[in-house]
Subunit: 325 residues, 2 copies
């Protein structure tokens, strides 16, 4: 085990990210390849195996250098059997046996985990979590995702559906429809898509004016980043929209914290690039909704690993397994 | 270890409950004594030690029969040092060193835990949880308490404040004041106190009539049990109040389940004696607010250990420590 590496893999619909990582969590090398999801994704695991084997050769090493492969994949997972239950973006049919397929191709131990959970584990191990045993990660992107770590390990839940933070109901009555079939989910007001929707509603109000309205007039569209940028420079419509998103994030996260009292809540994903500004907005509302001792002990902070969190968390799976066997 | 017992203790403001429990979770004997909280509670640990020692003698055993003492206590705990941070009902001054005091008096290993957490552990081990590794217990009494079990162990959080389910904000704007200093907490609408408050509001509305109104006219007061009993027999005011409590319980618990996807959510405490009726009301709302795969996999159920859950969970602390050392 000493001196060995782990291959961490973050399998996405467009790109597959890789890293060789030491048992101390240091990245030896990282790289990425396009994900070939043609022909029902039949080349995906072949390409992963070839890419790892090629990179090992480049280091003058063979597969004994690796303690195993950890892989984060989008979608719900049958952990007992190492199967991806269903995937929208990878081309695979439902119930793809990812673990068995990759083990067969590489003759190495393989562990799989949901990609949002991998990102949370990465932040716990080497990122903003800094070893915290109780951690909540919230990913603000096209949707809102999450990863929950309690007692030093990921919480998967009985059906692997833990961490669905984006589908916490924050507007119980009269909320907007969500892709999940419910209404009023956090995702409908705090994802990039949700923030743009709120902004478009605000811009449609009679008399809406200012920097965001001007940008929309010129470009014909706006992004969540535009909303935060304009809010930072004082645009009133944007401030109102950003505060609406922050209110619902603050409410949902305070209620999670009232339940779990994590050491840290870590913000990642595209929307979180508005960084400290977003956190300060969310914190105002979080403080109002959090129980006193939770408010005083749970910290809000930005993710620090950016897009390496997934490969590092995937590698942690193998390291953790070795340490506990 | 084989054949040894554990003493489980559930320390309350009025009564201290005890049980000798086998390593398989079977109760050998259970008993209780009044809690003597006079003189800043100086007799409390003495009485616990004497009571255990006396009962052992009654069985013709000495202290070697016990693997240790697990004790559940009200209030927040400094787990590292075995200290009760503050207590309202026991007479102790802040920072009482419960673990050290009881270890000194008994010369046995002692572990302490928050009492709501003990009840959750008891239900996990021998009750409705039936060994579930992911479990949420909600206690509906004068207040609303909770215990969260993830990956087979209690979640305490960074400051021991995890499980404050009663202080989840369910009415973000215009909610009633809570004892905790916030407004709109679950406890303000779903505890026995909260349900009576909602009922009194409903009875004050012009034209309020029916069975509950009649009971109030005759007795001069009503209880949460009256509300559920009258709702069951069709009283409209009571049905409205019960449904209001169930709505907010369903919302809060669905959002917890969206985060943790526990195998079971277990209802305990006085209000839960309305049993299946309460669960069916809550489930209607839970189903509306839960993410599809959570709705299909997380079950709502009644606690099964009643008031033994605390002593059994307290005993589990010692059993678990022995197994993991």
């Amino acid at each position: 085990m000493a001196g060995q590496w782990v291959a961490g893999v973050d399998l996405g619909g467009t790109t597959t990210k890789f890293a060789f990582i030491t048992m101390d969590g240091e990245i030896v090398e990282k790289w990425e390849i396009p994900t070939d999801n043609r022909d029902e994704g039949k080349n995906i695991t072949l390409n992963i195996a070839d890419s790892i084997s090629g990179k090992l050769k480049g280091h003058g090493k063979d597969k004994e250098q690796l303690a195993g492969i950890g892989i984060g994949a989008p979608g719900p997972i049958d952990y007992e059997n190492g199967i991806i239950l269903n995937t929208v973006n990878l081309g695979w049919q439902d119930y793809f046996p990812l673990q068995a397929s990759l083990q067969e191709l590489t003759a190495l131990p393989v562990l799989i985990e949901n990609d949002a959970n991998c990102a949370a584990l990465g932040e716990m191990w080497m990122g903003a979590g800094n070893g915290a045993a109780d951690l909540v990660c919230v990913t603000l992107g096209t949707g809102v995702g999450g990863g929950i770590i309690a007692n030093g390990n990921i919480v998967r839940g009985i059906y692997g559906a833990a961490g669905e933070i984006g589908h916490i109901t924050v507007i119980p009555f009269g909320g907007a429809p969500c892709n999940c079939g419910k209404t009023g989910c956090l995702e409908t007001v705090a994802s990039a898509t949700g923030i743009v929707r709120l902004a478009m509603e605000a811009l449609r109000e009679p008399g809406a004016a200012g920097e965001l309205a001007e940008q929309y007039r010129v470009k014909g569209s706006i992004t969540a980043k535009d909303v935060f940028d304009c809010a930072l420079s004082g645009d009133l419509v944007s401030k109102k929209v950003a505060d609406m998103a922050a209110l619902h994030l603050g409410l949902a996260l305070a209620n999670i914290a009232n339940t779990l009292n994590p050491e840290k809540i870590v913000f990642g994903g595209g929307v979180s690039k508005s960084g400290d500004f977003l956190i300060s907005l969310v914190k105002t509302h979080f403080d109002r909704f959090a129980f006193t001792s939770v408010r005083n002990s749970t910290k809000l902070t930005l993710a620090s690993l950016e897009n390496h969190a997934g490969v590092i968390g995937a590698a942690w799976l193998i390291k953790n397994k070795l340490e506990n066997n």
